[in-house]
Symmetry: C2
Subunit: 190 residues, 2 copies
Protein backbone atom coordinates (compact mmCIF):
# COMPACT_ATOMS: atom_id res chain seq x y z
CA UNK A 1 0.00 0.00 0.00
CA UNK A 2 1.85 3.01 -1.33
CA UNK A 3 0.49 5.75 1.00
CA UNK A 4 1.51 3.66 4.00
CA UNK A 5 5.01 2.94 2.70
CA UNK A 6 5.46 6.63 1.96
CA UNK A 7 4.41 7.50 5.51
CA UNK A 8 6.85 4.94 6.93
CA UNK A 9 9.66 6.39 4.79
CA UNK A 10 8.98 9.98 5.86
CA UNK A 11 7.82 9.56 9.49
CA UNK A 12 9.15 6.19 10.67
CA UNK A 13 12.25 6.13 12.88
CA UNK A 14 14.57 3.12 12.86
CA UNK A 15 15.59 2.57 16.49
CA UNK A 16 17.57 -0.63 15.88
CA UNK A 17 17.86 -3.48 13.37
CA UNK A 18 14.62 -4.87 14.81
CA UNK A 19 12.64 -1.89 16.07
CA UNK A 20 10.79 0.63 13.87
CA UNK A 21 9.14 3.50 15.67
CA UNK A 22 5.90 4.65 14.04
CA UNK A 23 4.51 6.67 16.91
CA UNK A 24 4.03 9.69 14.64
CA UNK A 25 1.04 8.11 12.84
CA UNK A 26 0.08 4.70 14.27
CA UNK A 27 1.23 3.84 17.81
CA UNK A 28 0.88 7.06 19.79
CA UNK A 29 -0.12 9.85 17.45
CA UNK A 30 -2.63 8.54 14.88
CA UNK A 31 -3.26 9.85 11.36
CA UNK A 32 -7.04 9.35 10.97
CA UNK A 33 -7.07 9.75 7.17
CA UNK A 34 -4.35 7.12 6.76
CA UNK A 35 -6.33 4.84 9.10
CA UNK A 36 -9.37 5.28 6.85
CA UNK A 37 -7.30 4.34 3.80
CA UNK A 38 -5.91 1.33 5.65
CA UNK A 39 -9.41 0.27 6.72
CA UNK A 40 -10.56 0.56 3.12
CA UNK A 41 -7.69 -1.57 1.90
CA UNK A 42 -8.37 -4.33 4.45
CA UNK A 43 -12.06 -4.24 3.53
CA UNK A 44 -11.22 -4.59 -0.17
CA UNK A 45 -9.02 -7.61 0.45
CA UNK A 46 -11.54 -9.47 2.63
CA UNK A 47 -14.86 -8.19 1.27
CA UNK A 48 -15.91 -11.55 -0.25
CA UNK A 49 -15.11 -13.55 2.89
CA UNK A 50 -18.40 -13.24 4.80
CA UNK A 51 -16.73 -11.50 7.74
CA UNK A 52 -19.08 -11.02 10.74
CA UNK A 53 -16.58 -9.62 13.22
CA UNK A 54 -13.15 -8.04 13.46
CA UNK A 55 -10.89 -8.89 16.41
CA UNK A 56 -7.83 -6.84 17.39
CA UNK A 57 -5.78 -6.06 20.55
CA UNK A 58 -5.68 -2.81 22.47
CA UNK A 59 -4.36 -0.22 21.91
CA UNK A 60 -2.71 0.35 18.52
CA UNK A 61 -4.86 -2.13 16.61
CA UNK A 62 -8.07 -0.28 17.43
CA UNK A 63 -7.89 2.59 14.92
CA UNK A 64 -7.26 0.50 11.77
CA UNK A 65 -9.70 -2.18 12.98
CA UNK A 66 -12.54 0.30 13.56
CA UNK A 67 -12.03 1.84 10.12
CA UNK A 68 -12.15 -1.62 8.52
CA UNK A 69 -15.23 -2.47 10.60
CA UNK A 70 -16.97 0.69 9.44
CA UNK A 71 -16.35 -0.19 5.82
CA UNK A 72 -17.32 -3.86 6.19
CA UNK A 73 -20.33 -3.01 8.40
CA UNK A 74 -19.31 -5.34 11.24
CA UNK A 75 -18.50 -4.87 14.96
CA UNK A 76 -14.93 -4.75 16.24
CA UNK A 77 -13.75 -6.46 19.42
CA UNK A 78 -10.51 -5.43 21.02
CA UNK A 79 -8.90 -8.01 23.29
CA UNK A 80 -8.11 -6.53 26.67
CA UNK A 81 -4.64 -6.76 28.15
CA UNK A 82 -5.64 -5.43 31.54
CA UNK A 83 -8.36 -6.37 33.96
CA UNK A 84 -11.36 -4.04 34.28
CA UNK A 85 -14.20 -3.90 36.81
CA UNK A 86 -16.71 -3.91 33.96
CA UNK A 87 -15.23 -6.90 32.12
CA UNK A 88 -16.72 -9.50 34.43
CA UNK A 89 -18.03 -12.12 32.01
CA UNK A 90 -16.68 -15.50 31.33
CA UNK A 91 -13.47 -14.75 29.52
CA UNK A 92 -11.56 -16.48 26.75
CA UNK A 93 -7.87 -15.90 27.44
CA UNK A 94 -4.40 -16.49 25.98
CA UNK A 95 -0.87 -15.66 27.16
CA UNK A 96 1.10 -13.34 24.86
CA UNK A 97 4.71 -12.28 25.11
CA UNK A 98 5.27 -8.73 23.88
CA UNK A 99 8.59 -8.12 22.18
CA UNK A 100 8.35 -4.32 22.39
CA UNK A 101 7.27 -4.29 26.04
CA UNK A 102 9.31 -7.37 27.07
CA UNK A 103 6.58 -8.73 29.31
CA UNK A 104 4.15 -11.62 29.13
CA UNK A 105 0.55 -10.60 29.51
CA UNK A 106 -2.82 -12.30 29.37
CA UNK A 107 -5.22 -11.09 26.71
CA UNK A 108 -8.94 -11.62 27.16
CA UNK A 109 -12.18 -11.51 25.17
CA UNK A 110 -15.64 -11.90 26.68
CA UNK A 111 -17.61 -14.97 25.58
CA UNK A 112 -20.61 -12.62 25.16
CA UNK A 113 -19.28 -11.16 21.94
CA UNK A 114 -17.85 -14.09 20.01
CA UNK A 115 -19.39 -17.46 19.14
CA UNK A 116 -19.31 -20.34 16.70
CA UNK A 117 -21.43 -18.49 14.14
CA UNK A 118 -18.76 -15.81 13.68
CA UNK A 119 -16.30 -15.51 10.82
CA UNK A 120 -13.45 -13.35 12.02
CA UNK A 121 -10.92 -11.03 10.43
CA UNK A 122 -7.98 -10.41 12.77
CA UNK A 123 -6.38 -6.97 12.46
CA UNK A 124 -3.21 -5.79 14.17
CA UNK A 125 -0.71 -2.97 13.79
CA UNK A 126 2.43 -5.13 13.66
CA UNK A 127 3.35 -8.70 12.79
CA UNK A 128 6.82 -9.75 13.94
CA UNK A 129 7.18 -13.16 15.56
CA UNK A 130 3.40 -13.70 15.54
CA UNK A 131 2.92 -14.08 19.30
CA UNK A 132 0.02 -11.62 19.51
CA UNK A 133 -1.62 -13.08 16.39
CA UNK A 134 -1.39 -16.60 17.81
CA UNK A 135 -2.95 -15.42 21.07
CA UNK A 136 -5.89 -13.96 19.15
CA UNK A 137 -6.19 -17.12 17.04
CA UNK A 138 -6.32 -19.22 20.20
CA UNK A 139 -9.11 -17.08 21.67
CA UNK A 140 -11.15 -17.15 18.46
CA UNK A 141 -10.76 -20.92 18.18
CA UNK A 142 -11.82 -21.35 21.82
CA UNK A 143 -15.04 -19.52 20.86
CA UNK A 144 -15.51 -21.99 18.00
CA UNK A 145 -15.49 -19.18 15.41
CA UNK A 146 -13.76 -19.46 12.04
CA UNK A 147 -10.89 -17.24 10.90
CA UNK A 148 -10.89 -15.65 7.44
CA UNK A 149 -7.37 -14.33 7.80
CA UNK A 150 -5.14 -11.66 9.28
CA UNK A 151 -4.85 -8.04 8.17
CA UNK A 152 -1.57 -6.53 9.31
CA UNK A 153 -0.57 -2.88 8.94
CA UNK A 154 3.23 -3.39 9.12
CA UNK A 155 4.94 -6.76 8.80
CA UNK A 156 8.55 -7.29 9.82
CA UNK A 157 9.22 -9.86 7.15
CA UNK A 158 12.69 -10.60 8.58
CA UNK A 159 11.01 -12.23 11.58
CA UNK A 160 9.13 -15.50 11.33
CA UNK A 161 5.53 -14.55 12.13
CA UNK A 162 4.13 -14.76 8.59
CA UNK A 163 5.96 -18.00 7.89
CA UNK A 164 4.54 -19.70 10.98
CA UNK A 165 1.00 -18.40 10.43
CA UNK A 166 1.02 -19.54 6.79
CA UNK A 167 2.37 -22.93 7.84
CA UNK A 168 -0.68 -23.19 10.11
CA UNK A 169 -2.91 -22.47 7.10
CA UNK A 170 -3.80 -18.82 7.75
CA UNK A 171 -4.04 -16.13 5.10
CA UNK A 172 -1.90 -13.09 5.96
CA UNK A 173 -2.45 -9.72 4.23
CA UNK A 174 0.14 -7.12 5.22
CA UNK A 175 -0.06 -3.58 3.85
CA UNK A 176 3.66 -2.87 4.26
CA UNK A 177 6.27 -5.63 4.40
CA UNK A 178 9.64 -4.63 5.78
CA UNK A 179 12.58 -6.64 4.52
CA UNK A 180 15.24 -4.99 6.63
CA UNK A 181 15.95 -2.18 9.08
CA UNK A 182 19.71 -2.57 8.83
CA UNK A 183 22.01 0.47 8.75
CA UNK A 184 19.15 2.67 9.93
CA UNK A 185 17.34 2.20 6.59
CA UNK A 186 13.86 0.85 5.93
CA UNK A 187 13.71 -1.44 2.91
CA UNK A 188 10.49 -3.08 1.78
CA UNK A 189 9.83 -6.52 0.29
CA UNK A 190 9.22 -5.97 -3.45
Amino acid sequence: MEQLKQKIRTCGVVLSDKVLKVDAFLNHQIDPLLMQQIGHEFAERFRDQGITKIVTIEASGIAPAVMAGLELGVPVIFARKHQSLTLTDNLLTAAVYSFTKQVESTIAVSTRHLDASDRVLIIDDFLANGKAAKGLISIIQQAGASIAGLGIVIEKSFQNGRQELEADGFRVESLARIQSLENGQVSFVE
Copy 2:
Protein backbone atom coordinates in the same frame (compact mmCIF):
# COMPACT_ATOMS: atom_id res chain seq x y z
CA MET B 1 -27.38 12.46 21.22
CA GLU B 2 -30.36 10.24 20.64
CA GLN B 3 -28.68 7.27 18.86
CA LEU B 4 -26.23 6.95 21.73
CA LYS B 5 -28.90 7.10 24.43
CA GLN B 6 -30.89 4.48 22.56
CA LYS B 7 -27.83 2.22 22.41
CA ILE B 8 -27.23 2.68 26.15
CA ARG B 9 -30.87 1.81 26.87
CA THR B 10 -30.79 -1.34 24.75
CA CYS B 11 -27.21 -2.60 25.25
CA GLY B 12 -25.95 -1.01 28.47
CA VAL B 13 -25.87 -3.14 31.62
CA VAL B 14 -26.17 -1.52 35.05
CA LEU B 15 -23.71 -3.36 37.30
CA SER B 16 -24.24 -1.18 40.37
CA ASP B 17 -25.44 2.31 41.32
CA LYS B 18 -22.13 3.66 40.00
CA VAL B 19 -21.04 1.29 37.24
CA LEU B 20 -22.55 1.08 33.76
CA LYS B 21 -21.18 -1.61 31.50
CA VAL B 22 -21.07 -0.60 27.84
CA ASP B 23 -18.73 -3.28 26.59
CA ALA B 24 -21.20 -4.28 23.86
CA PHE B 25 -20.49 -1.13 21.81
CA LEU B 26 -17.77 1.06 23.35
CA ASN B 27 -15.35 -0.53 25.83
CA HIS B 28 -14.64 -3.99 24.47
CA GLN B 29 -16.82 -4.59 21.43
CA ILE B 30 -17.05 -1.40 19.36
CA ASP B 31 -19.88 -0.32 17.04
CA PRO B 32 -17.99 1.48 14.25
CA LEU B 33 -21.06 3.21 12.79
CA LEU B 34 -22.02 4.62 16.19
CA MET B 35 -18.41 5.79 16.62
CA GLN B 36 -18.66 7.61 13.28
CA GLN B 37 -21.86 9.33 14.42
CA ILE B 38 -20.20 10.24 17.73
CA GLY B 39 -17.14 11.61 15.92
CA HIS B 40 -19.42 13.66 13.69
CA GLU B 41 -21.26 15.09 16.70
CA PHE B 42 -18.02 16.09 18.46
CA ALA B 43 -16.78 17.69 15.23
CA GLU B 44 -20.01 19.70 14.90
CA ARG B 45 -19.75 21.01 18.45
CA PHE B 46 -16.10 22.09 18.16
CA ARG B 47 -15.77 22.88 14.45
CA ASP B 48 -15.32 26.65 14.94
CA GLN B 49 -12.67 26.28 17.64
CA GLY B 50 -9.51 26.05 15.53
CA ILE B 51 -8.67 22.57 16.84
CA THR B 52 -5.22 21.34 15.71
CA LYS B 53 -5.07 18.11 17.71
CA ILE B 54 -7.23 15.67 19.61
CA VAL B 55 -5.88 14.03 22.76
CA THR B 56 -7.41 10.93 24.36
CA ILE B 57 -6.30 7.98 26.56
CA GLU B 58 -5.90 4.37 25.53
CA ALA B 59 -7.87 2.22 24.98
CA SER B 60 -11.58 3.08 24.87
CA GLY B 61 -11.11 6.73 23.91
CA ILE B 62 -9.33 5.85 20.67
CA ALA B 63 -12.31 4.90 18.47
CA PRO B 64 -14.44 8.03 19.08
CA ALA B 65 -11.33 10.25 19.00
CA VAL B 66 -10.13 8.90 15.63
CA MET B 67 -13.58 9.38 14.10
CA ALA B 68 -13.67 12.98 15.35
CA GLY B 69 -10.12 13.51 14.07
CA LEU B 70 -11.09 12.21 10.64
CA GLU B 71 -13.96 14.66 10.44
CA LEU B 72 -11.98 17.64 11.77
CA GLY B 73 -8.91 16.74 9.69
CA VAL B 74 -6.49 16.70 12.65
CA PRO B 75 -4.18 14.08 14.21
CA VAL B 76 -5.15 12.17 17.34
CA ILE B 77 -2.75 11.42 20.19
CA PHE B 78 -3.57 8.73 22.68
CA ALA B 79 -1.87 9.02 26.06
CA ARG B 80 -0.12 5.79 26.97
CA LYS B 81 -0.76 4.08 30.27
CA HIS B 82 1.99 1.52 29.86
CA GLN B 83 5.65 1.79 29.03
CA SER B 84 6.79 0.77 25.55
CA LEU B 85 10.23 0.21 24.07
CA THR B 86 9.39 2.54 21.20
CA LEU B 87 8.12 5.41 23.36
CA THR B 88 11.53 6.69 24.33
CA ASP B 89 11.20 10.45 23.93
CA ASN B 90 10.99 13.04 26.60
CA LEU B 91 7.61 12.39 28.11
CA LEU B 92 4.97 14.61 29.65
CA THR B 93 3.33 12.60 32.43
CA ALA B 94 0.53 12.75 34.98
CA ALA B 95 -0.73 10.36 37.67
CA VAL B 96 -4.32 9.15 37.22
CA TYR B 97 -6.43 7.03 39.55
CA SER B 98 -8.82 4.75 37.66
CA PHE B 99 -12.12 4.13 39.41
CA THR B 100 -13.05 1.14 37.23
CA LYS B 101 -9.62 -0.49 37.53
CA GLN B 102 -8.92 0.67 41.09
CA VAL B 103 -5.27 1.40 40.42
CA GLU B 104 -3.18 4.53 40.04
CA SER B 105 -1.28 4.67 36.79
CA THR B 106 0.97 7.14 35.03
CA ILE B 107 -0.19 8.41 31.67
CA ALA B 108 2.33 9.76 29.20
CA VAL B 109 2.49 11.78 25.99
CA SER B 110 5.66 12.37 23.97
CA THR B 111 6.83 15.99 23.74
CA ARG B 112 7.38 15.32 20.00
CA HIS B 113 3.68 15.49 19.22
CA LEU B 114 2.32 18.37 21.28
CA ASP B 115 3.55 21.94 21.62
CA ALA B 116 2.52 25.51 22.44
CA SER B 117 1.08 26.10 18.96
CA ASP B 118 -1.57 23.40 19.47
CA ARG B 119 -5.22 23.94 20.30
CA VAL B 120 -6.51 20.69 21.75
CA LEU B 121 -9.85 18.92 21.97
CA ILE B 122 -9.80 16.26 24.69
CA ILE B 123 -12.01 13.22 23.99
CA ASP B 124 -12.74 10.37 26.37
CA ASP B 125 -15.28 7.57 26.70
CA PHE B 126 -16.40 8.34 30.27
CA LEU B 127 -16.43 11.31 32.63
CA ALA B 128 -17.08 10.40 36.26
CA ASN B 129 -14.92 12.09 38.89
CA GLY B 130 -12.73 13.74 36.24
CA LYS B 131 -9.43 12.15 37.26
CA ALA B 132 -8.47 11.03 33.74
CA ALA B 133 -9.56 14.37 32.26
CA LYS B 134 -7.46 16.28 34.77
CA GLY B 135 -4.44 14.11 33.97
CA LEU B 136 -4.83 14.93 30.29
CA ILE B 137 -5.31 18.63 31.06
CA SER B 138 -2.10 18.61 33.10
CA ILE B 139 -0.14 17.04 30.25
CA ILE B 140 -1.51 19.47 27.66
CA GLN B 141 -0.75 22.44 29.89
CA GLN B 142 2.80 21.14 30.47
CA ALA B 143 3.20 21.26 26.69
CA GLY B 144 2.02 24.87 26.71
CA ALA B 145 -0.90 24.07 24.39
CA SER B 146 -4.38 25.55 24.81
CA ILE B 147 -7.52 23.52 25.49
CA ALA B 148 -10.72 24.13 23.53
CA GLY B 149 -12.77 21.79 25.69
CA LEU B 150 -13.66 18.20 26.45
CA GLY B 151 -15.83 15.88 24.38
CA ILE B 152 -17.20 13.04 26.50
CA VAL B 153 -19.19 10.08 25.21
CA ILE B 154 -20.92 9.17 28.50
CA GLU B 155 -21.03 11.43 31.54
CA LYS B 156 -22.00 10.15 34.98
CA SER B 157 -23.64 13.39 36.02
CA PHE B 158 -24.15 12.11 39.57
CA GLN B 159 -20.38 12.28 40.11
CA ASN B 160 -18.52 15.57 40.34
CA GLY B 161 -16.27 15.54 37.24
CA ARG B 162 -18.21 18.04 35.14
CA GLN B 163 -18.72 20.39 38.09
CA GLU B 164 -14.99 20.49 38.87
CA LEU B 165 -13.93 20.90 35.24
CA GLU B 166 -16.41 23.73 34.70
CA ALA B 167 -15.24 25.38 37.91
CA ASP B 168 -11.75 25.34 36.39
CA GLY B 169 -13.12 27.10 33.30
CA PHE B 170 -13.30 24.20 30.86
CA ARG B 171 -16.09 23.59 28.37
CA VAL B 172 -17.55 20.07 28.69
CA GLU B 173 -19.68 18.55 25.89
CA SER B 174 -21.13 15.16 26.84
CA LEU B 175 -23.19 13.19 24.34
CA ALA B 176 -25.11 11.23 27.00
CA ARG B 177 -25.54 12.50 30.56
CA ILE B 178 -26.59 9.90 33.10
CA GLN B 179 -28.51 11.22 36.06
CA SER B 180 -28.81 7.94 37.94
CA LEU B 181 -28.18 4.21 37.76
CA GLU B 182 -30.27 3.44 40.84
CA ASN B 183 -32.54 0.39 40.97
CA GLY B 184 -30.78 -1.04 37.94
CA GLN B 185 -32.27 1.68 35.70
CA VAL B 186 -30.48 4.20 33.50
CA SER B 187 -32.03 7.66 33.65
CA PHE B 188 -30.65 10.57 31.65
CA VAL B 189 -30.37 14.26 32.50
CA GLU B 190 -33.13 16.03 30.56
